[in-house]
Symmetry: C2
Subunit: 327 residues, 2 copies
Amino acid sequence: MIRTIADIAKIAGVAKSTVSRYLNGGSVGEATKKKIEKAIQDTGYTPNPFAQSLKAKKTNIIGTIVPRLDSYASSQTLIGIDEQLKEWNYQMLISNTSQDLDREIESIYSLAKQKMAGIILLATVITDRHLKAISEIHIPVLLIGQEHEEIHSVIHDDYHAGLAIGKYVLEKGHRKIAFLGVTEQDIAVGVKRKTGFQKALEARDDIDVSYFETEFNIPAAQAAAMKLLDSREHSIIVCATDNIAIGVLKAAYKQGLSIPRDVSVTGFGGYDVTEAIHPGITTAKFHYKEAGKKAAINMVELIQERPVEKLTTMNFEIIKRESVDTV
Amino acid sequence: MIRTIADIAKIAGVAKSTVSRYLNGGSVGEATKKKIEKAIQDTGYTPNPFAQSLKAKKTNIIGTIVPRLDSYASSQTLIGIDEQLKEWNYQMLISNTSQDLDREIESIYSLAKQKMAGIILLATVITDRHLKAISEIHIPVLLIGQEHEEIHSVIHDDYHAGLAIGKYVLEKGHRKIAFLGVTEQDIAVGVKRKTGFQKALEARDDIDVSYFETEFNIPAAQAAAMKLLDSREHSIIVCATDNIAIGVLKAAYKQGLSIPRDVSVTGFGGYDVTEAIHPGITTAKFHYKEAGKKAAINMVELIQERPVEKLTTMNFEIIKRESVDTV
DNA sequence: CTGAAAGCGCTTACAG
DNA sequence: CTGAAAGCGCTTACAG
């Protein structure tokens, strides 16, 4: 038994427009208000969102584009966005692209067509096609995880996290270091973590550091680590993500090496699993959930056309665990 | 520059209703079709989904209610649903309840109000309030993870997984066994895994088995395991989930116990992490992504009012890893 | 095959 | 403070 605003108006004995005004917080007399309230109570009426959106030409839904659902960073970020949005009576719609850049572009257009109030993009790379799409849709877009001068962004402090990890590694006495990174196409993970790390070492001339590249997934990292560990040249392997660190742990185990006795390992991310396993992994922990919240807050401000800082840089912390030994 | 169906009609020189018919696959003459196609091409027109939904009174969106976003089972299941739905031009909308049962009920109503074509519920418990809500909304609802005689369900074979784990544990020679389970309110995890396990042991009178209960999260499991391990009475701890097994691993490590030398451990679930860590955890692996796909398939059949089996039971497999020793 | 008209359930000036 | 009317962009009988 679905009720419309006309039903409520009839039951309450007022005009539809008065009910609408009541619903939208306009000025309504006390007596009328009471009658409408009662009618709504009695019927369990709720407005049809399609009719509302059709007329108002916008929704209170924020579209979120995520490259994957099965990553700690993604899910924490989504949770943060969702929690904040709920509080402000916005809804989140998730569009999963399965790490397919074409789908990412498509999603931008299709969310816009669906009249999202705004789009939050959990970004990995920003191409010209992204910029073109974003400029064409005329709704607010916000990036998380990567920055771009033209787009509002919430990022993690990858550079300083890299710097801090570098300092910590030196402090623990390591001199023969391997850095296991990822593609430089990913500015945040591939470039900034590395350059921060390099910065920490740059004043020193007693350091022997080599840079390697692998992929984000554990098996690839494990394969890369197998070779690295073979040489036994390094006292520590600094990994660009926690998943890569886990790959290294697996490789070490396969080779009968003990961590941190035979070789130390660090990660970036602060995934739950780095604490759950043994040895616990020393890592730079990012605050994904908070980043999500901040992105949601900024997005709502953007929608309401209030000023918002172009770039928000979130904090990080170094979590020291068993995976790093003193040399 | 947003176009409406009226614009297209004018440009093509036909009536709005003809354009609408073209759009919805009705019969339109060749010449008219050409003109309309051109007009749509030229303008980049796409129909306003709100107007469509308002009139047609339904969407092609499937609402999915999930208790949490940050679990392996949830994300894999969602990915499966999403992939399948995309293929059939349906969309998935995720509603996260943060394990709040009230929100779960609310979500059922609110998704229905938003005219979802159907609702897939990643269920943990089914209360009377659930049943009431489901019966009131008059759209198809499908359960994943729990079954109910009144509702279409896709479940994992928790009972036989429990049975298989039980048999394997006996096969490995264990006689002093602890089963670390969860609340029996959760039929699938709390009851069925346990009863399957019990079934495996029932014919034997040389087994000494004790049952304990803990929560789903790692810290709680770890605390429960601390006590259990203190006694050193059991040669194996059979855990109702992989996360609980991880809690046991942590507790064992804290007590300086080695797994599987001092005590063996098994889990249920087959989360990626059980393979990523050392020792790898022996577990009953469920196929979450496939369950999601199957649920999506069944849901679409339900929407199209085609016959669908009430209950689908997915497969599982026992993955043997280092965490179990032969006694 | 095609078009005119009514209507989906709201919101929003406008008038009173 | 309140109401009548128009309109948002579609779809759907109905007629031709």
